[in-house]
């Protein structure tokens, strides 16, 4: 992708656009050839408005004023993107940012769109809407290159599928002539991994208890607003509690409140019976909160630092990383090598920077690091977002293994199959509240998706606000196979 978009130059081989051989030296070259890219990690300037972000670098097209605004609204309406041009990008949610990214590409008159994991942040209904747009685009003669780990999506939207594994084209198939299972086998090279959890390991020993959590903040228009309200839940030893919800409904804030980055203005957080509501982040992590952050580049890694220094991140006060106030570089290095071995992090060595690893390997390093400190509770926010199927299976295995050994997990994910498959109990988050609970043994992704939009559907029970709904041990203990 990076080569197609001119960000990296190939060692050999040729790229042909419209029958003409081209050399793409920079993204500007690519744009000039009508190739536009929507990155998995958004490339937006937070402190500029949506309008400014869209025009940035393309000022010559329609200026920066009324002309540009007209064109943006035109595109936004034509493809149902619902973009509000005058908001600051830092004020809008992840899903909106992605729409801005797509708009940016269209604005530049791209004829070929590269979409890198575009659906990771959308609920099923929105995915369908996006696919509708994509079909419209292709009907008008545009080309869409859709990169995804989600096989169902690829099958439903693509006219042609190319499977790439470890940098090589493995196969090119037509969606009509293949099945998700077959595709997954091509991707992994073997059996299809499933996120299903087999038997229940839930005990009645509470590990993380959150009661009456309340957090307020300012929204896009500067108004004081409840970000989190009446959050009550208990996670027991050996239980995975899944939180479903459209992104931007308070999940990130919930995680930050539990980790101690945000100070809630009401409610308590107790870890294994001890109140940690006002403890600093470091104390909480030392007492056994493991954390797989939503955005590993921002919160989980020091991209410019070697792997073994990243192994210390978040656990610098614990062995083998330090002795007293002194670092133990030798111990940390040796342990990093162990993590690299045991968690199958593919790297030429532990001195390379974390930034040069692929997403899946970065995530395996993070999972290995967090698991190495035997956490009591693991906060896993989108643990398999943007990682390859192989790494995904390993991460799921790891969570399941730790769960068997008594780990409590708070799982936040936009991947509904992952949520349903891994969780022992499910809650739906909407506008900062836990509005519904669901039984992962019976609920379907579609029902969950409906509940996430704020309307409770069949199979999803509405939780009474203010009363604590106790997840009964044994929930989700069924076979868990959803087909």
């Amino acid at each position: 992708m990076k080569i197609l978009y001119g960000m990296q130059r190939p060692d050999e081989g040729v790229i042909t656009v419209d029958g003409e051989q081209v050399v793409l030296r920079s993204p500007a070259d690519a744009i000039a050839r009508g190739i536009g890219m929507v990155h998995q990690h958004f490339m937006l300037a937070d402190n500029l408005t949506v309008l400014e972000n869209v025009v940035l670098g393309a000022e010559k097209l329609h200026g920066i004023g009324a002309g540009a605004r007209r064109r943006i609204l035109e595109l936004s309406d034509a493809y149902g993107l619902g973009v509000r041009p005058d908001l600051l990008v830092e004020e809008i949610g992840v899903a909106d940012r992605q729409r801005v990214e797509i708009l940016k590409v269209l604005y530049r008159g791209a004829r070929t769109l590269i979409l890198d994991e575009p659906t990771a942040v959308l609920v099923p209904q929105e995915v369908d809407a996006l696919f509708g747009n994509l079909r419209e685009l292709t009907a008008e003669g545009l080309t869409v290159l859709f990169i995804s780990h989600k096989l169902g999506e690829v099958l439903s939207v693509a006219d042609d599928i190319t499977v790439i594994r470890r940098g090589t084209t493995v196969a090119t198939v037509a969606p009509a002539g293949t099945t998700p299972k077959r595709l997954a086998e091509l991707m992994v090279g073997s059996e299809l991994p499933t996120p299903q959890t087999r038997e229940s390991t839930v005990t009645d020993e509470p590990v993380l208890t959150v009661a009456g959590l309340h957090l307020s903040g300012r929204d896009a228009d500067g108004l004081l607003r409840e970000v989190l309200a009446d959050i009550d839940f208990t996670i027991h030893r050996g239980e995975v509690l899944g939180i479903a919800g459209v992104e931007g409904n308070g999940q990130a804030e919930l995680v930050e409140a539990i980790i101690g980055i945000r100070q809630p203005d009401g409610g308590t957080i107790a870890l294994a019976g001890q109140d940690v509501s006002h403890a600093p982040t470091r104390t909480r992590r030392e007492r056994g909160i493991g954390y797989i952050p939503e955005d590993r580049h921002r919160h989980g890694l020091l991209l410019d630092a070697p792997l073994w220094e990243n192994r210390m991140l978040g656990h610098v006060t614990e062995p083998p990383n330090s002795r007293g106030p002194l670092l133990n570089a030798k111990g940390a290095r040796a342990d990093t090598e162990r993590i690299v071995r045991e968690y199958d992090v593919r790297t030429p060595g532990i001195e390379v920077t974390a930034g040069s690893l692929s997403g899946g390997n970065q995530q395996k390093l993070i999972v290995g690091r967090e698991m190495s400190h035997r956490p009591k509770v693991l906060i896993a926010a989108h643990p398999t977002r943007g990682v390859d199927v192989g790494a995904q299976a390993q991460i799921w295995d790891e969570i399941r293994r730790a769960r068997r050994e008594g780990l409590a997990v708070l799982l936040i994910s936009a991947d509904l199959d992952e949520l349903i498959g891994l969780s022992d109990s499910l809650r739906v988050m909407y506008r900062g509240r836990l509005v519904a609970s669901a039984d992962p043994a019976t609920v379907t992704p579609e029902e969950l998706g409906t509940a996430m939009t704020g309307t409770a559907g069949a199979g999803v029970g509405t939780a009474e606000p203010g009363t604590e709904t106790k997840p009964e041990p044994g929930t989700g203990s069924g076979p868990g196979e959803e087909g």
């Binding site: 499977v163 470890r166 940098g167 493995v170 196969a171 086998e185 091509l186 992994v188 090279g189 073997s190 059996e191 980790i259 101690g260 600093p280 982040t281 470091r282 104390t283 909480r284 030392e286 921002r298 989980g300 890694l301 020091l302 991209l303 410019d304 630092a305 210390m312 991140l313 978040g314 610098v316 330090s322 106030p325 002194l326 670092l327 570089a329 030798k330 111990g331 290095r333 040796a334 090598e337 690299v340 071995r341 045991e342 968690y343 199958d344 593919r346 790297t347 030429p348 060595g349 532990i350 001195e351 390379v352 920077t353 930034g355 040069s356 690893l357 692929s358 192989g390 299976a393 390993q394």
Partner: protein, 397 residues
């Protein structure tokens, strides 16, 4: 970058990757050295071109500089000059390592040196007691002056660049107010200065010939060692570097960013407080209106040149001293003395450019190596993945 990690000291822990790592380390050392060399060569080329354009002979100039700079009195002069430069660079580098731009080292060291001189002049204790008292006063004053900026940044989010520049001016005015006859100073012909520090409280000197080397060089060496140790070897140093590399990641990992900001500014200021000590305790014995100014800004250039590395900054400080020493000689030889200023500026610019080039090249190289490794592994059926059963199964497409 190799300068960012305390590599090269730790012994190989695991046998598996040891060989690879030795090669790695050699390569990173090479990368680390190639940047300053590239920068120096570029700088020499550009200054030669400038001299050529202005009608001077660059090669004779370099010869003059090399000759004059290697004389023994020049060597002593350069070393003594490099001591405060090094201290100023270390103070700036502490900030740089956590993405703080302490541009106020200049004000910090002047305020610190002034009050240290006042305290030193007022007391008459035995040297073993009074020298530490003077040094401590300087560090505390420097720390407070920088700490104001750190506190404002942590509590109010005010950019440290703005506050430290402001504090430079405030510090200058503060000194100007007190440095008057009848306040904290006395007049000696045209020079207004603080009371002289008793000779028992002067720092010792190394009896080198023809001139002595200042004993305060030991302070610089100690600061360098402490800088290396604290930043590279302690938990605190790790936290500080983590904040410098990624604030959100550091915060999520449990580092209190605000506290680290304040602590780093206090430390930076404390080291800045020492910058005036070689002058005060080895040369002047008082703080007068002839006390050197601008050392803090020189420190920024030297920290950049030495890439915040404790040894690198040492060489950079010596190079700076060398250029200043030989610049005066060039004037006698009929060159414009300003050519040295041009040289210094060009060196700093080339360093910034060269480091960025080498850094990018290093990253590209590393990515390629990671890619090659993966390709080799998948070809060999994944020898590194005992936990990955999918590795062994090959594609049947």
């Amino acid at each position: 970058m190799s300068t960012d990690t305390p590599a090269g000291q730790a012994r190989p822990g695991g046998r598996l990757l040891a060989g690879l790592r030795d090669g790695d380390r050699r390569e990173r050392l090479l990368l680390g050295l190639s940047a300053p060399l590239l920068a120096l060569v570029t700088a020499l080329a550009i200054t030669s071109a400038v001299m050529g354009l202005t009608g001077d002979n660059p090669f004779r100039a370099f010869e003059v500089m090399a000759d004059y700079g290697s004389k023994s009195d020049s060597q002593v002069w350069i070393i003594n000059k490099a001591i405060p430069y090094y201290l100023a660079a270390a103070a700036v580098a502490i900030g740089f390592r956590m993405n703080l731009f302490n541009i106020g080292v200049d004000g910090q060291y002047r305020v610190a040196a002034f009050f240290a001189a006042v305290v030193g002049g007022a007391l008459s204790l035995p040297g073993v007691v009074q020298i530490p008292v003077i040094l401590l006063t300087a560090m505390v004053c420097g720390g407070i002056w920088a700490g104001i900026a750190g506190y404002l940044k942590a509590s109010r989010g005010v950019s440290e660049v703005i506050t430290t520049i402001m504090l430079n001016f405030i510090g200058g005015s503060l000194i100007a107010y007190f440095l008057q006859e009848g306040r904290l100073a006395e007049r000696d012909e045209n020079i207004v200065h603080t009371e002289d520090i008793p000779s028992s409280s002067w720092f010792f000197e190394f009896p080198t010939s023809p001139d002595p080397v200042h004993g305060t060089i030991l302070i610089a060496v100690a600061v360098g060692i402490v800088y290396w140790f604290v930043l590279g070897r302690t938990r605190f140093g790790y936290d500080l570097r983590a904040v410098g590399r990624s604030e959100p990641a550091a915060e999520a990992s449990g580092v209190s960013v605000k506290r680290t900001v304040v602590t780093a500014m206090l430390l930076s200021g404390a080291v800045a407080g020492l910058v005036g000590m070689p002058t005060l305790l080895n040369e002047s014995g008082n703080y007068g209106n002839d006390f050197p100014e601008g050392l803090g800004f020189t420190g920024i250039a030297i920290a950049l040149l030495g890439r915040n590395h404790p040894v690198g900054m040492g060489f950079a400080a010596l190079l700076w001293g060398f250029l200043e020493r030989t610049g005066t000689q060039l004037e006698f030889e009929g060159y414009d003395q300003e050519i040295v200023g041009v040289m210094q500026g060009v060196i700093v610019l080339s360093v910034v450019v060269a480091y960025e080039l080498v850094r990018r090249w290093g990253i590209r190289r590393q990515q390629r190596k990671v890619g090659e490794q993966l390709a080799a592994q998948s070809a060999a059926g994944g020898p590194n993945g005992p936990k990955g059963p999918h590795d062994s199964a090959e594609v049947s497409a």
